[in-house]
Symmetry: C2
Subunit: 704 residues, 2 copies
């Protein structure tokens, strides 16, 4: 630990109006009811639960965050492991539900080496295991005797699951599968919880029967000894090394050298191998995997709003505390500097992201509702068929897989996953930069949060790859409309039908003064881009590859339409208008408009080449509407971020403190916590000594 500050330093205060005064003034100047809005956003039940769990975590020394930013990889991983263990113990002690456990993880705000065990390993065993396998694997896994991971991605193979190289070859002589990695590129890679923690893995491998490949299937494989935790023979496993973020997780690699596992270790709920004949047992239907992936994507959409809101909270509060320069129009000699948040250029960077955090919140809520509605519908279908007791009976996802809802759900979750995670990731970086130089300090709390979040744009479907699936769905829907082969009940079909009817008349949306028209303009643009792409593909016979850029634009336009629509509809809902006072409601409307106009002007050329708007409308949106929205929202910015109710402990940010004591906190962390200030270096080039501490010296040769 560094020496304490001398007394004369302890006596110093920041100059000018104090951060606490400035934030108080911000809160005083707005009449927005923060508690009412927070309760509407999250429900009081959720807020109370969060507060209760926060108290438990703060009381436990292993969750102390003060050293987090100073630790290297090994120390961070050690601390994360200790926290994972404590969290499991607390979970047992307080009998936490899965939701409560996730709230705790959310408050800790860093991944732990149990991350993939507690999610993908347990979930996959539950969903894809037979009752016998539940007894054999799931039960000890739930007791944390088996600690597992989900090993799919390989060193040479990411998104393309069919290209996986790891093989599981059926050996009829002893009724086993032989797991093998035929090439270096077959090494499992990026697998969370595998590098150090797991003693079991669900390995996705190509099933080989009698020399023929039947595609990738899941197998349970023990990889480490249950006592010594050393790798088992013919298994090479370890941590893949440091990453841009996510360094509290032990992402791992895994190679097999002809490793035998029993027949029962192939997860058998949906497909399998008949041990008597060695014949393949086909799955009842092939869209099984949709369920889990759609759920994960839906959760990413749901979390994107609060992910972004953390950065917006920090940047908004700090920009209200930070003062820099005077306005050029300020008369010479007037006193004091401006709050940075008063500069329109800063507002233009932060406030659309504040709006986006709300837009993504409502969009995410709707996404989950859609997912749950589908689950419910499928469950009803299942119960109508008499339930699913028997082994390999159809799971919930198997009913009505061809229905519109399932296809909609898939496309919507793909489009919104790509859009929402890109918006959150890039928005966080904008927030970090809006904090100026101090945004670059670890103590801002944005950089590490951003770095940990970044893989989200790549995993669970790379954001660019996903747009192809969305475009395929839109093209297919458009074709159905053109040929009249559609039930005409789903959202995008109606949009397309409407577009076709009015295409020659023109749109004439009053985007500047009518919110419904603003939403309709976004719909129009999607329809226009879809039929353009359809013409290129079906009439001009252009190659799919040559259309990828257009299809990416199309998918993005679709996601923006969905987000604008969801935001608008959330504000129209009776549950909303009944819960919020008119001030709050009107402010949320302004956020909706800012969000919509921001995207409308950012993609201006798509809007007027599609004739969704005129050039003049875009100009007015840019020069008049956005400016006046920024002005209207500005006084409420601090209260609007307060409504997200992030505890300081969760944000762990010197800049984003609720009380505005920014400079005191920056200085305290640097001077009194920073362990680098416990030592003195030898700075002279001809000395081979590097550091001196109380314990002795360290010389250059120790590095070599």
């Amino acid at each position: 630990m560094p020496p304490p500050n001398p007394d004369w330093v302890k006596a110093l205060k920041p100059s000018g109006p104090q951060g606490s005064e400035l934030l108080q003034r911000e809160r005083d100047q707005s009449a927005l009811n923060v508690d009412q809005l927070a309760t509407f956003l999250f429900t009081s039940e959720v807020l109370e639960r969060r507060a209760k769990i926060l108290e438990i975590l703060q009381a436990h020394p292993v969750f102390d965050k003060s050293q987090n930013y100073f630790r290297g990889r090994r120390e961070r991983l050690e601390a994360a492991l200790a926290r994972a263990k404590a969290l499991r113990q607390l979970s047992v002690k307080h009998q936490w539900s899965q939701e409560e456990y996730e709230v705790a993880n959310d408050l800790i705000s860093e991944p732990t080496p149990y991350g993939l065990h507690a999610t993908m390993f347990l979930k996959t065993l539950e969903e894809q295991g037979t009752p016998a396998q539940h007894k054999l694997f799931l039960e000890p896994a739930r007791r944390y005797e088996y600690i597992g991971c989900y090993a799919q991605t390989e060193l040479g193979h990411g998104s393309n699951v069919r290209g996986l190289e790891t093989t599981a070859t059926w050996d009829p002589t002893d009724k086993t599968f032989i797991l093998h990695s035929p090439h270096l590129t077959a090494s499992k890679w990026w697998i969370g919880s595998l590098g150090k923690a797991a003693n079991h893995a669900i390995v996705v491998a190509q099933l080989i029967l009698d020399g023929k490949s039947y595609g990738p299937h899941p197998f349970v494989v023990q990889i480490r000894d249950l006592k010594t935790h050393e790798p088992l023979p013919d298994i090479h496993v370890g941590d893949i090394g440091p990453k841009f973020g996510y360094n509290t997780m032990d992402n791992g690699f895994l190679l097999f050298n002809h490793v035998k596992i029993p027949h029962i270790n192939m997860l058998g709920r949906f497909s399998g191998v008949d041990p008597a004949t060695g014949k393949y047992i086909r799955p009842v239907n092939p869209v099984l995997v949709y369920g889990t992936l759609t759920y994960i994507r839906s959760m990413i959409v749901f979390q994107s709003g609060s992910t972004l809101a953390r950065g917006v909270t920090i940047a908004t509060r700090y920009c209200a505390v930070r003062r820099q320069f005077q306005d050029r129009d300020t008369p010479e000699g007037s006193f004091g500097e401006n709050q940075v948040l008063d500069y329109t250029m800063v507002q233009y960077r932060i406030l659309p992201l504040l709006a986006a955090s709300y837009a993504l919140h409502f969009t995410g809520r709707n996404m989950l509702n859609l997912y749950n509605a589908n689950q419910k519908r499928m469950a009803q279908g299942q119960s109508a068929r008499g339930g699913g007791e028997a082994k390999r009976s159809p799971g919930p996802e198997q009913i009505n897989p061809g229905s519109d809802l399932l296809a909609d759900l898939h496309a919507i979750s793909c489009a919104l996953k790509a859009f929402s995670s890109t918006t959150a990731a890039e928005g966080l970086e904008v927030c970090r930069r809006a904090c100026g130089g101090h945004g670059y300090s670890a103590f801002s709390g944005i950089g590490s949060w951003y770095a940990d979040y970044l893989p989200t744009v790549t995993w669970e479907g790379d954001n660019y790859m996903l747009t192809q699936q969305v475009a395929r769905y839109l093209l297919k829907s458009a074709r159905a409309v053109l040929t009249g082969k559609t039930a005409g009940t789903n959202g995008i079909t109606l949009v397309f039908q409407h577009f076709i009817k009015r295409r020659d008349i023109g749109a004439a949306f009053d985007v500047l003064d009518n919110d419904q028209d603003l939403v309709d303009a976004f719909a129009w643009r999607v329809a226009f881009l879809t039929f353009e792409a359809l013409k290129h593909r079906d009439e001009d016979k252009q190659s799919w590859n040559s259309l990828l850029i257009d299809l990416w634009r199309l998918s993005t336009a679709y996601a923006q339409y969905l987000a604008v629509k969801n935001f608008y509809e959330a504000l129209q809902a009776e549950s909303t208008t009944a819960s919020l006072d008119p001030t709050t409601l009107s402010l949320l409307h302004k956020l909706f408009q800012l969000f919509a106009f921001h995207h409308l002007t950012s993609h201006a050329s798509e809007f007027f080449t599609s004739a969704a708007t005129t050039v003049r409308q875009i100009q007015l949106a840019r020069t008049k509407r956005i400016n006046s929205l920024l002005q209207d929202i500005r006084p409420h910015a601090v209260r609007l971020v307060d409504a997200w109710k992030f505890p300081d402990w969760q944000l762990d940010s010197a800049l984003g403190r609720y009380d505005g004591k920014v400079y005191e906190d920056m200085f305290h962390r640097a001077s009194e916590v920073n362990p680098l200030n416990d030592e003195t270096i030898d700075p002279y080039p001809d000395s081979s000594v590097l550091f001196r501490t109380e314990k002795g010296t360290k010389a250059i040769k120790s590095l070599l």
Copy 2:
């Protein structure tokens, strides 16, 4: 160190065509003469110098990079200090020039604790010190007996130098200055080389004479003991803690409690205090500071091309090695996956950045030429006046400060600094993501490079702040054109005059088929935006603050015009056409067009609301021209990045290896170098043990 790979792992190779074969095929399919192009870009002298220094560095064990990505903050700083010392020793031994020393730093590619000593400290002493001060401070500093830094920024004050709080108060009784930090926000902050290394600082403080402030001035202050290196009394100094990047640098804080320094310690070349009377000696003219800042900004512009090119090199090579999926149009059953670089969506992300790296290279070269021309002109002005021998005689920057060239230089360097550093920083992140999942690994070599580069968008003038200065210059130039009060010789004045003449006739540029017209369309857009902003400011009397967003757009448009123009002119120059064969020249023309069309379509609405282009031209640029340019450039992509001639040692990237052995390198670093694989953890929640190594166990309580 982790245990070695077992034999069966050692025998594994990547599947399919090997990376080395794929890159060889790439190089075989293009006739681009890499050596010719590289020599043209850098000169053979520079390339040979680089090779010679590389050899020296690689032979020295302290520069071994293999542990870089695994080290925590303390270990990284230690290694950087050891390297700084060795570099200084090599510099003396080989009698390196400043340029050669910088080449070495560039190859090492990480900042060291000597960074600010070797640049800003020495340079400021040289430029702002008197001969007596050179003897007193500069000479021991050159011998590394004094190690220094440049302490300007404060905890509460970044860009606004006038707002600095640290005071230097003249005490006439003993002819000293008293350095003092009246508030916590007065603490110097972010100061490179201050946290651990410096024993001296140039402190920028408000000069107070007889109770009156005379603004910020530079003072030399000893801050640590020359023997023990402990802080001197009444000085509180230390490292500010970890950052998003730049963690091999000891950015520091510094507070003074009434610290006395002698009169001679105020740097006195341009202004000072008369020790006899205590009266202020005014600088001959107030634009002195322009020179250094313009130089630093010019260097940022110059380096931006190669900064970005590192990321582009890594991404291009890896995307040629990485194969993923088949094209959707590929017939079922055909063999193998596509190179990722063949997907248009990947080309659309990487190739415009490849073009940008070249555009920035030529723009940076031109920026330096402009700077040097100005230096030369000012030096001539100086010698015409009889030289500058006497104390406080005008320095080189003082001659003709009001000339057009100086104002041009200032505005151009501000505009291009903002544009080029934003382009490089954001481009690096695009390159990282284009590498898919592996881009997130530290071994990609992009993440740390990006993180270290990021402060460039904030320091030496925040990129948003700078746009105000550019806009002010453009508005002033436009006013001069309108009132006829201009010499009419500088570039932007001619653009404005031309615009005014043709404004009512219209532009009618043939942007699709005429490169000069393409450049002119960018000029037209700048003129349009300038006169729009001028109208808002001068006629509509809008506040400066309400115009900031427009002014930022204007400055960006101006920078893009300059970059497009510089690229185009570089290709027209006789030195270019004489040095390059027609194949290379034609390829560079395509890169120019791609760069221009990329920005034209990205800012489409500005181009056609200004009538610089028609909507149809934009559509054609987007759908036809860009696609065909991507197709034309694609086969030469690997050779075009090869021409940057980055040694593998410099890139330190598993993905960007010249030989394409991507997967072997990834695996080697993870499995055989990664120190985390030397230990076994205890994964069970009820065990209080965390790790076991050969040396023993580590328990949770050690963290608490």
